[in-house]
């Protein structure tokens, strides 16, 4: 779960990290009043769950309260990177001497956390990592020991003398945020040395492990502030992974790998997937029914491909769920069903006995994909239940 900058900074503040005075604004007027409080000049920063704000116009340095108001209004109206914008952060300007980069994140390949400090920040740090790797120092962090003192000395050893002790006291606090919040990413870009000698985060990118939200109720509660699509929300509530795409073949499968592969074969067959929907392991009949409803709620869908290979998921449960769903939703389009694995034969028999005219059985994944693509082409447009 990706937090807004201001949410990340609120967590930072709770761990004793100094930050510039700032206020969240949900209207242009609130942005203006905040800028007034900060003496007229302020940074207005769009709050979104993606990066690239600096380059993409998501951060405006307003020279007056009016300019802050106008910038905020534009942000609310236009959104950012295709996402709705419901709040901006208005932040007092600070006197920056130089900018660096710091991050703590997961190193999947080693199964540890990793801490990184770059002596260059505020710019394209990925490019720096490629072209000038010596500017980025990194260390592995074992959570059973924590960030070791010698590691902090090493991480800060290539910074200008005057930035070292400030960064050295900031890093353990960022590490505390990582562990205490079950985060998988705590990124500060830029981390700024101010003219007064302090080192503070100017940005905060915090991603919290979804698997840990049950033990992070305060963090989980922040979800309520995120802009949500109602279809997406419904899918999530049922434990389904649903991503809307641009095509016309609705796709339901079990297991992320199989669903991705199904998208690939549909594409290879000349079709365009309308979505990614993973019902997960051990799907219930109810989850299958909800999946079908979710996919069918997309008006662009012309055919649906259900591709289930059972392990924990059982074929007869899938079949009953599909039949249940077809009693609840009036699906006037073909649903190509391909079932294999655990109890698949029973599932196929149930579907055969039900003899629902919408259900088109297919023996293999490739044939199912070809059939779904073909049916999407010939299916009547715009007739939905």
């Amino acid at each position: 779960m990706d937090l807004f900058e201001h949410q990340g900074k609120e967590i930072f503040a709770r761990h004793g990290i100094s930050l510039p005075p700032a206020a969240v604004a949900e209207t242009p007027e609130e942005a203006r009043r905040a800028a007034e409080r900060f003496g007229g000049r302020a940074a207005v920063k769009v709050q979104v769950q993606i990066g690239g704000r600096g380059k993409g116009g998501g951060i405006v340095l307003a020279k007056s309260p009016q300019e802050a108001e106008e910038s905020a209004r534009r942000m609310f109206e236009r959104g950012f990177g295709g996402m709705a914008v419901t709040r901006v952060l208005v932040e007092s300007l600070v006197d920056i001497a130089s900018e660096f980069y710091a991050a703590l994140t997961l190193d999947r390949s080693r199964g540890t956390y990793i801490a990184m400090v770059s002596s260059k920040g505020g710019v394209d740090v990925e490019e720096i990592a490629r072209t000038d790797p010596a500017t980025i120092r990194r260390v592995a962090v074992d959570p059973r020991i924590g960030l070791k003192a010698y590691q902090v000395r090493y991480l800060t050893g290539h910074l200008p003398e005057e930035a070292r002790s400030g960064t050295a006291s900031l890093l353990p606090k960022l590490y505390d945020v990582l562990i205490a919040s079950d985060a998988t990413l705590v990124e500060v870009n830029p981390m700024a040395l101010l003219r007064d000698g302090t080192v503070i985060p100017l940005d905060a990118k915090v991603t919290v492990d979804d698997n840990a939200l049950a033990r992070q109720p305060e963090v989980a509660a922040l979800r309520s502030s995120f802009p949500v699509d109602p279809t997406q929300a419904r899918a999530n509530d049922e434990g389904l992974q649903y991503v809307k795409l641009d095509g016309e073949v609705g796709i339901i499968g079990n297991g992320a790998g199989l669903v991705m592969s199904t998208l690939d074969v549909v594409t290879q067959a000349g079709g365009r997937p309308a979505n990614f929907l993973d019902v997960g392991g051990g799907a219930s009949a109810e989850m299958m029914a909800t999946s079908l409803e979710v996919v069918l709620s997309d008006p662009a869908v012309r055919s649906v491909l259900v591709n289930i290979f059972g392990g924990i998921t059982r074929g007869e449960v899938v079949a009953r769920g599909l039949l249940d769903a077809l009693e609840r939703v009036d699906a006037d389009m073909p649903i190509v069903v391909r079932l294999d694995g655990t109890n698949a034969e029973e599932g196929r028999r149930i579907l055969e006995e039900a003899a629902n005219p919408r259900i088109v059985p297919a023996p293999t994944m490739l044939e199912a994909a070809a059939r779904a693509v073909e049916l999407a082409r010939t299916s009547p447009e715009g007739v939905h239940g």
């Binding site: 990066g51 994140t105 199964g111 990793i114 059973r144 990413l185 990614f276 392990g311 490739l366």
Partner: protein, 286 residues
């Protein structure tokens, strides 16, 4: 031969009395796996269809000589189940449980490195050495004994590809589902090394997907150390790029994480890459 499990495996199931635990335990036993014990705290002394249930793993190991544990406990108890199994001397831990917090896994994986236990998973379907033992939730009926080793990050996609192999009459030595969680036990390189050393395995199928850099590392290992032929598949060629939050991930891996980058890495290492599961099976047959 085969890797990790075979007819001598003595299987213990942690969380045997849960619904999924009991279901798959009995399926594994029906397959012919030597299931010797179960463990559920508070239910020691009971049995699951004749399989004795113990209070602790140590007791179960003492009483039955179990050497492999299949773990179905709820996510919040998963790390503890790993500690208990490793501290009790169990050699192979197969963690099916999904939804385990990353911090728990980082701590547990670090701890296990200091023991002689080997972890597979979490969030994994387990593994099967067809005709010998099935440990986990891979449907045994789709598999067939043979000489192809298979290692996969995916669950059901593995079944799909195994199914395609079997339908062509191509059997498998061991099929390993490593799971898709970011922090996990046995990975591509571990499994490839074992397959390379296994006399029964003649070729290997590697099934990857977008994200991370496991495939790139596998490709590097294959080009340097594998003599047996490898066929790969990478799911997600048509996946749209994900929305990105920060830069740290890309800096750590030095990889874009796209399926195409992984396909390119495999091909540069001399690995034949199938465009879909059916083509994978065809390449293995070729």
């Amino acid at each position: 031969m085969s890797i990790l499990i075979d007819e001598t495996t003595r299987l213990l199931v942690q969380g045997i009395t849960g619904k999924e635990g009991a279901f798959h335990t009995l399926r594994n036993r029906d397959y012919g796996t030597n299931v010797v014990a179960g463990v559920t705290p508070g239910k020691g002394g009971q049995d699951v269809d004749g399989i004795p249930v113990y209070e602790t793993v140590a007791e179960a190991v003492d009483a039955t000589g179990a050497d492999t544990s299949l773990i179905f406990v709820p996510a919040r108890f998963a790390a503890d189940a790993l500690y208990e199994a490793a501290d009790s001397g169990v050699e192979l831990l197969v963690l099916v449980t999904e939804g385990i917090p990353v911090l728990d896994m980082v701590s547990a994986v670090g701890y296990l490195r200091g023991t002689s236990s080997v972890l597979l998973g979490g969030n994994c379907p387990g593994l099967i050495s067809p005709g010998k033992a099935n440990v986990g939730i891979i449907p045994g009926e789709i598999c067939m004994r043979g000489s192809v080793g298979l290692i996969s990050r995916s669950g059901t996609l593995t079944y799909q590809i195994v199914h395609e192999l079997t339908q062509r009459g191509i059997g498998q030595s061991t099929c390993v589902g490593m799971g898709g969680d970011p922090v996990h036990g046995i990975g591509f390189v571990d499994a490839l090394r074992r397959f390379e050393a296994d006399p029964e395995t003649e070729s290997v199928v590697v099934i990857g997907e977008i994200g991370g850099s496991d495939e790139e590392q596998a490709a590097a290992f294959i080009s340097q150390e594998m003599t047996k032929p490898v066929v790969a598949y990478v799911a997600g060629l048509s996946a749209p790029p994900g929305k990105r939050m920060g830069h740290a991930g890309a800096i750590v891996t030095g990889s874009s994480g796209t399926a195409q980058a992984k396909v390119d890495a495999f091909e540069a290492a001399g690995v034949r890459v199938g465009r879909n599961p059916t083509e994978v099976a065809a390449l293995v047959a070729a």
